[in-house]
């Protein structure tokens, strides 16, 4: 066990972070990167000798509402960023997942959402976090401050190390600052509800909606028992009020064969999508293993059929392209998930499970040997001595 007060390094600026990393490297120490701790359960369990925390790297560096861009230090609580954006009617486009429902505490920070590429239901129309992060500063394993990307929307100068670090779980470097492009917050939203569809019907309805010209920005299905005793399929439309009404009406007509019933709006709609975003309905029971599976929506039903009773509960996001599901927390169940997925293609991430299971199996989809070798070489290109988050993504890397 790491004793907190002696073991956690808390640099107050990037220069201090560089010095601390260089020193740790010189001493042969390994550092587990921590932020607000709200996603600490993602990835393999930490193996480092000390912690390196971003919590003192706090504050919005700039927010240019007229340019729709914001830069914040890595330890800045997401709540502070969202309050600043709210004051100008803006938002982070990708609807970041809040890990607290699943992992049970902590404070979501800017660095954490970049490191985990935490993207919610709007990723179907606005892209993932990696599509909205346009610049990063980080400290590499040499203890050097590295700048990549910038503050403009279009920038193709040099290799894009921004995306590479987005979702890298801190294995390549210690993030110190991130720059986001923003979107105006939609004036209104409406959610069409269709009850009692089975999985195949729900996928058909969501596919029809997403292939329609009406700009659907969320497509999810909750199974029976998630808030209601029957299944519910949801389709969200956002924009200026008149446009939302117009498109919702058109979409209702286009989906007539599926029997769309109700339209939620305002806070009701927002509450619902927050719950879908955070997979609230799968948070309990807490001892279950939770998976996030990415696959072609058209193959989701077959995948679940192959998985059979191993899937204890599931819900669809992104039109069925994302399947959240829970299983018993055993290696056999994990093997069943990966085996059921193999014929479909795609990838399964073990999002939450007891430490022992996350240490025993591949948390991320295993890579073919040439990619695994590349992962090692790219890791070494940033962090040759493996100072950062050793073993967090893949065992031994």
């Amino acid at each position: 066990m790491i004793a907190d007060e002696v073991a956690t390094l808390t640099p107050s600026d990037e220069a201090e972070a560089c010095a601390m990393v260089a020193q740790a490297r010189g001493r042969g120490e390994t550092l587990d990167i921590v932020g607000g701790g709200s996603r600490a359960g993602l990835g393999r369990p930490p193996e480092g000798t000390r912690r390196l925390s971003s919590m003192r790297l706090e504050g919005i560096v700039f927010h240019e509402p007229a340019e729709m861009v914001l830069r914040a230090k890595a330890g800045t609580p997401l709540a502070i960023v969202e309050a600043a954006l709210e004051a100008h009617g803006q938002m982070l486009p990708f609807e970041p997942i809040d890990g607290r429902a699943l992992y049970g505490g902590g404070e979501p920070t800017v660095g954490g959402l970049v490191a985990t590429n935490a993207s919610g239901p709007r990723r179907i129309s606005a892209g993932a976090a990696r599509d909205s992060v346009i610049g990063l500063r980080l400290v590499n394993g040499h203890g050097e401050a590295i700048v990549t990307g910038g503050r403009v929307m279009k920038n193709v100068a040099g290799l894009d190390l921004v995306k590479l670090n987005c979702g890298a779980l801190g294995t390549l470097g210690f993030l110190t600052e991130a720059t986001f492009k923003l979107l105006p917050k939609p004036e209104g939203e409406a959610t069409i509800v269709i009850r009692r569809l089975d999985d195949a019907q729900a996928i058909a309805a969501m596919t029809a909606a997403l292939g329609s010209p009406f700009g659907v920005s969320g497509a999810a299905k909750l199974s029976p028992g998630m808030g209601r005793e029957f299944s519910r399929t949801f389709l969200r439309i956002e924009g200026v009020a008149a446009s939302v009404d117009h498109r919702a009406e058109k979409l209702l007509a286009a989906l007539a064969e599926f029997g769309p019933e109700r339209v939620l709006s305002g806070d009701d709609s927002r509450r619902l999508w927050r719950a879908v975003r955070d997979a609230d309905f799968l948070a309990e029971p807490r001892q279950r293993a939770l998976w996030r599976v990415g696959l072609r929506a058209s193959r989701a039903v077959d995948f679940l059929a192959r998985l059979g009773p191993h899937a204890l509960a599931h819900l669809f996001d992104c039109g069925g392209g994302i399947v959240w599901l829970s299983t018993a927390p055993t290696p056999a169940d994990a093997a069943a998930v990966r085996a059921a997925l193999a014929p479909s293609g795609g990838h399964a991430t073990l999002v939450r499970a007891p430490d022992a299971l996350r240490a025993a199996i591949d948390v991320f989809q295993p890579q073919p040997p040439p990619l695994a070798a590349l992962t090692r070489r790219v890791k070494a290109a940033f962090d040759p001595d493996g100072v950062f988050n050793r073993g967090r993504m893949y065992a031994g890397i």
Partner: protein, 477 residues
């Protein structure tokens, strides 16, 4: 004399030319290898036509296995490889050198899969950008990034440069519309990166490869996002009596929280050039013009246009022309998209590609004018204003070496200015040979060294598209 330097060719490679040709001939069908002088000439430059170098040989494989065999051979024989799509790079990204072979993807031009239910297309690298949209337009879908060269440029080249286009303001650039690639590495490994399934696990290889300018491997296949088109789309022209008013209007529209599908800027010289070519009905008596496109249902478009027009009026908009038909809309876009070609009829030009924060556009445009005037050169501005991606076309006479040097010097000053204002050297054309020596203006030594180490993880001896992107030894600006 030209300013852009080329490294001296490696004499040990040149000396082995016969052996290298024999080796390539042994692994390729006869018609996939071009060794004769006339044949190689066709590949000595791209759209940065002021520069040319004759490649050692040209290979035009038809299959992924052939590409893998070529790569393994070139690794073992220590031969440099320059990937090429349609050769439309404006930054010299596909210009070869004497000690390199050109690996052209033009014969790999099949659309492999169209899946409208899961909304993606999988195509070979040599398929043109426009061909993807054309293949799905009857079903109401399209592929969003639309570079001006979309009729000719290939998806492989688009991935290499992370290309943009006018409609990227709403839909994003190539990397935001790319779902997967098949990459052949120097070792001949065939890697599937990303795919039709959302949020691939592990490191974001796709994001790294997109825009890597052919230095990490050969993209032989791309899986791209297909988007269902909105109910309707309508471009509107706004004319202004001053460039400053027009550029402030751009910043004000973005600042008001409106994201049109596209927002393009043309100044007086650009309007005249495009109108003479396309007869699009552009107003000729204004100093600057914006093309703003909105989409959606009729009522939606009307409401959004009303908001935009009100902002434009407040910024001195004097002329407004709304497209009344699909044909008129097509004409309006034809004028804009033919800007580069139409300018080529008037004069030789170099096209800059710097990006600035939209709030700095008025200042940046003024500086572009001053810089070019300082060299006694004419300039036409036609660019993607909504995302601050400027394209000053600096006009010169290619047969006048002094003027060419002036044009390039002016261009470099414009790009340095873009970086100084908080922007980037390049928004969508890539670094290529053109801007590599300016990279040290935008990045520090440690930043560039980090990028190079990542590149070396794929290509330790820098054989793939060598002498591009990074400053040549001793030449950082």
């Amino acid at each position: 004399m030209a300013q852009i330097a080329f490294p001296p060719p490696d004499p040990t490679i040149l000396a082995r030319r016969d052996q290298i040709l024999a080796g390539l001939a042994a692994i390729l069908p006869a018609d996939a290898l071009i060794a004769d002088l006339a044949g190689r000439r066709a590949f000595e430059t791209d759209a940065l036509t002021a520069y040319r170098r004759l490649p050692l040989a040209v290979v035009l494989p038809r299959t992924v296995d052939e590409v893998a065999a070529i790569m393994r051979f070139c690794r073992d024989a220590a031969v440099n490889v320059v990937a090429r799509g349609a050769g439309t790079s404006l930054s010299g990204g596909a210009i070869p050198q004497e000690d390199a072979i050109v690996l052209g993807l033009s014969k790999m031009n099949r659309i492999l899969e169209i899946n409208l239910a899961d909304r993606f297309a999988r195509v070979e690298a040599g398929v043109t950008n426009l061909a993807i949209s054309e293949a799905v337009s009857a079903d109401g879908f399209f592929y969003a990034p639309d570079p001006s060269s979309q009729l000719a440029c290939t998806i492989g080249g688009n991935v290499g440069m992370n290309s943009g286009g006018a409609h990227c303001l709403k839909y994003g650039v190539t990397v935001n519309n790319l779902l997967g690639v098949r990459l052949v590495t120097l070792d001949g490994d065939i890697l599937e990166l990303g795919g039709a399934e959302p949020d691939a696990a592990g490191l974001d290889w796709l994001g790294l490869v997109c825009g890597s300018e052919g230095q990490l491997g050969i993209v032989v296949e791309a899986t791209v996002k297909l988007i269902r088109a909105a109910e309707g789309a309508r471009p509107v022209l706004f004319g202004f009596d001053s460039c400053a008013d027009a550029s402030r209007c751009v910043a004000a529209i973005i600042g008001a929280g409106i994201v049109p599908v596209a927002m393009e800027y043309l100044d007086r010289p650009a309007i005249a050039i495009c109108e003479a070519f396309a007869h699009a009905g552009y107003p000729l008596d204004v100093e600057a013009m914006l093309i703003v496109e909105v989409e959606g249902g009729e009522a939606e478009m009307a409401a959004e246009l009303a908001r935009i027009a009100a902002i434009a009026k407040a910024h001195g908009m004097r002329v407004m022309r709304e497209s009344m038909s699909a044909m008129e809309s097509a004409q309006i876009w034809k004028g804009r998209k033919s800007a580069f070609g139409a300018t080529g009829r008037v004069a030789d030009y170099i096209c800059m590609d710097g990006t600035v924060p939209t709030g700095r556009l008025p200042e940046a445009l003024q500086r572009v004018g001053e810089i070019c005037a300082g060299y006694g050169l004419r300039v036409a501005n036609v660019f993607h204003a909504g995302d601050g991606n400027m394209h000053p076309l600096i006009l010169y006479d290619v047969n006048d070496p002094v003027e060419q040097q002036k044009a390039e010097a002016a261009g470099m000053e414009v790009l340095k200015m873009s970086v100084a204002l908080g922007g980037s050297l390049t928004g969508e054309h890539g670094v290529g040979i053109e801007k590599r020596d300016l990279m040290s203006c935008q990045f520090g030594a440690a930043d560039l060294a980090q990028q190079k180490r990542v590149r070396a993880a794929f290509d330790p001896a820098a054989q793939l598209n060598p002498a591009k992107v990074f400053p040549l030894e001793g030449r950082g600006a």
